[in-house]
């Protein structure tokens, strides 16, 4: 049986039977891949601590025809991102990014840009002051890579330029006042949001952690992006809910320090 070799990031692990794990990876060449890691739950397993969510490594696997799961031969750690795991906000933020990849990136289809974006975000997360700006830029770029980038220079329906726009998830972009009046899901969107969205779309992956975002603008953008993602996915994004809860619970605590 031929062995394949690929870079990969662990997105999710689920315990399977007594000692095994089912592990889902994001790979550049084959998108999402899930496989069985035999004995991975054992303390002295050959996988050690490597098969942990967010770990970047080199995956060696075999793939039998007609089987959905790959067989994991080994996984060598390239970066464990230990710093992220030891900060609650960073850890929750990156688990959210992993959930987005779990839900949106198709199985067994090349996704080199999604992979580069996730890896870029993980690499920069430890150094950012506030993960929120990075999350918004990530969401914007991720949507773009999946083919959901909204039209930002004119109304998506009539093609006309307008002085002010709303955002419609269903239409997937900005709508002018007269087109928007006939739609039910239009959220108001400020010039600042449109400007940031444009700027964020064009950022190089190695710079996504270097841009700041003020709180008010972040709030507005977060709501629009989240509604858009929910619309596209058709279900709750659980890690987002968790992240928002942490912000509410510890946000005031942090400010007091």
């Amino acid at each position: 049986m031929p062995l394949y070799d690929s870079e990969a990031v662990v997105l999710r692990t689920v315990d399977f039977k007594e000692a095994d794990k089912i592990v889902t990876f994001l790979t550049p060449g084959h998108g999402r891949l899930s496989g069985l890691a035999r004995g991975a739950k054992r303390l002295r397993s050959r996988f050690g601590a490597s098969l942990e969510v967010l770990t970047h490594g080199r995956l060696v696997y075999f793939d039998r025809q007609g089987k959905n799961l790959i067989g994991i031969n080994h996984f060598d750690v390239l970066r464990s991102f230990q710093g992220i795991r030891e900060d609650l906000m960073q850890s929750a933020s990156c688990q959210y990014l992993a959930e987005l990849a779990m839900r949106f990136v198709p199985e067994r289809e090349a996704a080199p840009e999604c992979f580069a974006l996730l890896l870029g975000a993980l690499g920069q997360m430890e150094a950012v002051k506030d993960p929120e700006a990075l999350l918004r830029i990530y969401e914007i770029q991720f949507l773009g890579l999946l083919g959901y980038a909204p039209r930002l220079d004119a109304c998506v329906q009539c093609g006309r330029k307008a002085a002010a726009y709303g955002f419609s998830s269903k239409q997937g972009g900005l709508v002018c006042g007269s087109c928007g009046s006939a739609l039910k899901d239009v959220a108001s969107v400020s010039r600042g949001v449109i400007h940031f969205w444009r700027k964020a779309s064009d950022l190089a992956v190695n710079r996504i952690g270097r841009i700041g975002l003020d709180g008010r603008l972040n709030g507005e953008l977060k709501q629009i992006l989240h509604r858009y993602l929910l619309y596209l996915l058709g279900r709750e994004i659980r890690s987002f809910t968790f992240l928002e809860r942490l912000r509410k619970e510890f946000g005031s605590l942090r400010a007091a320090r």
Binding site: E18, E52, Q82, E86, S91, A92, F242, E249
Partner: protein, 198 residues
């Protein structure tokens, strides 16, 4: 052929983790050939387990009464609480015979993608305990997985906001009897970080 009672045992055994059809068949045949007294002993033990065992109302550990043996033992140090994910972890730590404090069992760890948040864990009772009991130190002994670490960090932020307890985390590192050259880099780094003076 009338094999339905045997088939029923096989089906019930297959519900257990790690047991497939073949193993279930082997076990069922084994039970069938067992002396009657032993087989009934097994079935009675399971019955008793389900009738008597419940969760301790104080710490969440397995117990045969409202309050478990450890919580009701006056010789256990009430100022020291070790927080673990599962009741199995209590058993593991008890086997060492080294810990003289009390426990708190969370029944899981924070896992946002599985919709396990703070409300799904036994955290509310822990917060009541730190206000009502003379606790001085909380030892976080959750697993060194991303879920276990997140749970530990969550509690490390929550506890000091509600009390003056000290919060500590168990050390992680090389298993005793293990070899350095076989340890993965994360484990090695953690072991280095958790070093102590001799």
């Amino acid at each position: 052929m009338e094999a339905s009672s045997l088939q029923r045992v096989i089906e019930e055994l297959k519900r257990l983790p790690g047991i497939g059809t073949k193993t279930a068949q082997r076990l069922a045949f084994f039970i069938m050939k067992m002396p009657t007294e032993q087989a009934l002993g097994l079935s009675r033990a399971i019955e008793e387990l389900k009738e008597k065992i419940r969760f301790c109302s104080v710490c969440g550990n397995l117990s045969e009464s409202e309050c478990c043996d450890i919580c009701s033992n006056p010789n256990r140090n009430p100022r020291l609480i070790c927080v673990v994910q599962e009741a199995m972890d209590v058993m593991a730590i008890e086997k060492t015979g080294q810990f003289r404090g009390r426990y708190h069992v969370l029944h899981g760890a924070l896992s946002p993608i599985d919709a396990i948040g703070p409300d799904e864990l036994n955290i509310k009772t822990l917060m009541q305990r730190i206000q009502q009991e003379p606790i001085e130190e909380i030892i976080l002994a959750t697993n060194p997985t991303i879920e276990g670490e997140a749970t530990a960090m969550y509690l490390a932020q929550l506890v000091p906001s509600r009390s003056s307890c000290t919060v500590s985390r168990i050390a992680h590192g090389i298993p005793v009897g293990g070899h350095l050259e076989y340890a993965d880099e994360v484990t090695l780094a953690k072991a280095m970080e958790g070093r102590r003076r001799l």
